[in-house]
Symmetry: C2
Subunit: 426 residues, 2 copies
C-alpha cells in the first residue's frame, strides 16, 4: 500500500478505482443486511486489534503536522487517543445495530391491470467521500456507505494519510473476514489533487460525491464535478425571539445555541429579537447572559437604542458564520421581517423560533426555507445522532435528495419493481 | 409580452426572472393545496376560453415550422388540435384532482428528550424546466410545479414560441384569478441560448433544472449547470427471456415492448434470450412474430446459429436506442450474463425479465441497476400515468432525488420540523 505521490498514470489509476468500486457495488447486491452488519462488526474488531499500529502511524501524522505548523486545534482533531479508537469501534457497532435500509418497500400498489408495483429502497451504487483532517471520518464514511449497500471511494486529507491508510486496511480486513468484496471500500492512495478532478468526472461509474469539509473544499468540488454532489455548506443558523416568547426559555435557548459549542455548524450565529421582546426586557436578559458567557454581540441600530454599549453590526455580520464566541443581533418589527431576514441571509441549515404563539410557530416552520426548522429548542439538536439516525455523514444544506442530517438511509435510492403475469399495453 | 431576441441585458433579465420566481416561491408557502388546485382549474378554464387565440398563434408556429423545413413528425407534435387543447385542460384538472403532496408528514417521532420531530414534505422552491417542441409541456410542467408548491421558470423551444406564449398567458390569467402570485410561472421570453447559460448558474435562486428533450439538450445543460440537474436520458430498455419463460408470454411481451410504440423511451431496444429458450423454439417464435410486425432484428453469432437469416449485430447495437422498428438480439448462457449485459449497456431506464422462476425474478429485480425492473410485463408500463402518479414531468434516469417516472411528489423536498418546550443540549 502506497500513500505517496508515486502513481504515474493518475487517469488509469482512477479508472481502475472506479471499475473496482462499480464491480464491488454490483457484488454487494447479492449480500444481505446481516452480511453487511457482520462486516461492520469485523471492522470494529480489526480496529481494536490494530490499536498499536494505528497509534504508531497516527504519531507519524502528528509529527508531520507539528513540523508543518498545524494549529493545536487541528492536531487535536488528528490525534487518535485510546478513547477515540474505542469510539470508532463503538460507532461501527452502532451503525450495525441500526435497521437495514435496503429492500424496504416505500410504497406499493396494485394497478388496475393487476400489475403489482413496488417502490423499493436500494443502494445508490458507488459513493465518493472527500474529507479533511479527522481520521475517524474514514471509518464513519465507510460504515454508513456499507450499511446502505454502497461501494465507497474515500479521499482523505494529506494530514491524516498514515492514520487513514491503517484504518482503510482494517476496513479491508473486516470485509474480507465477512466474505464481502474488499473493493467495497477503497482509499484513494494518492494525495495528488488531480486524482479528485478525475474522479469527479466519472459519470456512469461514481453515482454521487459527498464532500465533507470547509466551504472552499466543497466549492472546489462543485466547480469540477460532472457527477452529482450533495453539499454540506456552512451553518449560518438563527434564533428568533418572537414577541410572545417566554423570557426564561428565550435566555436559555439563545445561551445554549450560541455557547454550547461555538465551532460547529449548528451553533447560532445571529439572534433576531422582536421589538416587543426588546421592550419587555427579554433582550437585555439575553444580552447580559451572553456577555457574561464571554460572547461578543454585534448589534443593529435598534438594538443599540436599548443597549447602547453594544458594538455595531455591519451588513457583513448577517451573512457570517463566526464559529466563535460572537453573535449578530437584529431587532425586527414582525415575524415577517424575521422570516425575510433568515431567507435572505441564512444558509438553509437550522433556524429556531422561541414563541408561545401557535400561529407564529406554524408560519415559521412553513415559511423559513431551512433544512431544520425548530420551535422552542436549541439549534444544537440538528444532528444525526440526536435525530436517532445512528450516525451521520453530515448535514446537507442541499434541497435535493437529502436535506439536513444525513444517515445511511440518505445514501440509498429506490427503484420501481413491477410484478405482472403477462400484461402488455393495450 | 415579447418573444423575440430584443432583450438587451440578458444577465439582468435572468436575474430579474430569478428574483421574481424566488419571491413567488416564498409567497406560495402561504397558500393551501386547495388554493393551488383552484388555480389549476382556473388555468384549464383560461386555456379553453382562449382556444381560438391559441390555435391562431399555433398556426404561426406551424407556418414558421413549414418554412424552416421541420419534419412532418415535428410539425405533428407542434400542432394544437381541438382534441389536444381539450387534453391540456383535462390534464390540468387531473393534476388538481391528485392528493396534495405538500405538508405530508413522512415520518415523525418523539426523541428521548421530548422533542417532537417531523420530516415534512415541502416544495423544492424554484424549478427551471427546459423543453423542446411540444407546447403542451408548457402547461404540464406549470401544473406539476404548481401542484408541488414550486415557482417555475419555463424555457420552451423556439419552434413553439407563439403557442407557448399564449399558454403562459393563460397560466398567468388562471393564477391571477385564483389570487396566487402571477410570477409563480414565468416563461423565458427570449430564445437566445445564452439565457439558459445564465439561468443554469443561478445557485441559491434556482433550486433545480429538469431538461426535457433529446440527449444533446440534456448533455448541454449538464455541461453548463452549476445548479442540480435531474436528467432524463435515453431509454435503452431490455427484455430478457429467461430459460423458464412461458413461450406465449415471451412472444407477447417482446412484441408489445418493441412494437406498441417505437419512438418512446420505454420501448425495448435489445432482446436477450437464454440459450434454453433459443433451443426450445421460443426464440424462433419471437423472431417470426417480430419480423411479421416489420421489425428488423440484429442478432449475435449464437442467435444466428439458430436463425441464420438474421442480420448480424455489431457491438454498437448493444448501446443503441433505435426508437425505430429495429431490435438487437443476443443469446446469453445464464441469468448472470443477462444481468451483466444490461448493467453494461443499459441506460438504467426500464428492463424486463420474462420468467417462471421466482429466484430468477428476484435476482433480476435486485441486481439489475435500473429505475424500473419489470417481471413478466411490458416495458411500456414504465410511465407516470400508468403508475398512477397523475402526470409526469418525465422519466428520470438519475439515481439521486427522483428515479423513474417523476410526478408532482418528486418536485418536492422535505424539511425537519422540531417542536420542543425549551430543550437545550446538556
Amino acid at each position: 500500500m502506497t500513500h505517496t505521490n508515486t502513481i504515474n498514470d493518475l487517469q488509469a489509476y482512477c479508472d481502475d478505482l472506479g471499475r473496482r468500486a462499480l464491480n464491488a457495488s454490483r457484488a454487494l447486491t447479492r449480500f444481505s443486511g446481516a452480511d453487511r452488519d457482520h462486516a461492520l462488526h469485523n471492522i470494529a474488531a480489526a480496529i481494536l486489534d490494530n490499536r498499536r499500529k494505528l497509534q504508531a502511524d497516527n504519531a507519524l501524522d502528528l509529527d508531520a503536522g507539528r513540523a508543518n505548523g498545524l494549529s493545536s486545534a487541528m492536531l487535536d482533531r488528528l490525534e487518535l487517543t485510546d478513547a477515540r479508537i474505542d469510539l470508532i469501534a463503538e460507532s461501527l457497532r452502532q451503525v450495525a445495530a441500526q435497521p437495514d435500509p435496503i429492500g424496504r418497500i416505500e410504497s406499493g400498489k396494485v394497478l388496475p391491470n393487476g400489475i403489482r408495483l413496488q417502490k423499493r429502497r436500494v443502494p445508490i451504487g458507488v459513493v465518493l467521500i472527500i474529507f479533511e483532517s479527522r481520521p475517524n471520518v474514514t471509518s464513519d464514511a465507510a460504515s454508513l456507505c456499507l450499511k446502505a449497500g454502497n461501494a465507497a471511494i474515500l479521499r482523505g486529507g494529506k494530514e491524516a494519510v498514515h492514520s487513514n491508510t491503517v484504518i482503510a486496511a482494517c476496513v479491508r480486513e473486516g470485509l474480507q473476514a465477512a466474505g464481502l468484496p474488499t473493493d467495497a471500500v477503497q482509499l484513494v492512495e494518492t494525495t495528488d489533487r488531480a486524482a479528485v478532478g478525475h474522479l469527479l468526472q466519472m459519470e456512469g461509474t461514481i453515482d454521487v460525491c459527498v464532500p465533507r469539509g470547509g466551504e472552499s473544499l466543497i466549492r472546489a468540488v462543485v466547480e469540477q464535478a460532472r457527477i452529482p454532489v450533495i453539499k454540506h455548506y456552512t451553518g449560518n443558523c438563527h434564533v428568533y425571539i418572537d414577541a410572545s416568547a417566554d423570557p426564561d426559555m428565550a435566555v436559555s435557548i439563545a445561551h445554549n445555541a450560541k455557547t454550547h459549542r461555538t465551532g460547529v455548524c449548528n451553533a447560532a450565529e445571529t439572534l433576531l429579537v422582536h421589538q416587543a421582546a426588546a421592550d419587555n426586557g427579554t433582550l437585555k436578559r439575553i444580552a447580559d447572559d451572553l456577555r457574561e458567557a464571554g460572547v461578543e454581540i454585534r448589534a443593529d441600530e435598534k438594538a443599540r437604542q436599548t443597549l447602547p454599549d453594544l458594538k455595531p453590526a455591519s451588513d457583513d455580520d448577517w451573512a457570517t458564520e463566526y464559529l466563535d464566541k460572537i453573535i449578530a443581533l437584529r431587532i425586527v418589527d414582525s415575524l415577517d421581517q424575521a422570516i425575510e431576514h433568515i431567507n435572505r441571509y441564512g444558509s438553509r441549515h437550522t433556524d429556531a423560533i422561541v414563541t408561545t404563539s401557535l400561529a407564529d410557530a406554524e408560519r415559521f416552520a412553513n415559511e423559513v426555507d431551512t433544512a431544520n426548522a425548530f420551535v422552542n429548542c436549541s439549534t444544537r439538536f440538528s444532528d444525526g445522532f440526536q435525530y436517532g439516525l445512528g450516525a451521520e455523514i453530515g448535514i446537507s444544506t442541499d434541497k435535493l435528495h437529502a436535506r439536513g442530517p444525513m444517515g445511511a438511509d440518505d445514501l440509498t435510492t429506490y427503484k420501481w419493481v413491477a410484478y405482472g403475469d403477462g400484461q402488455v399495453r393495450p
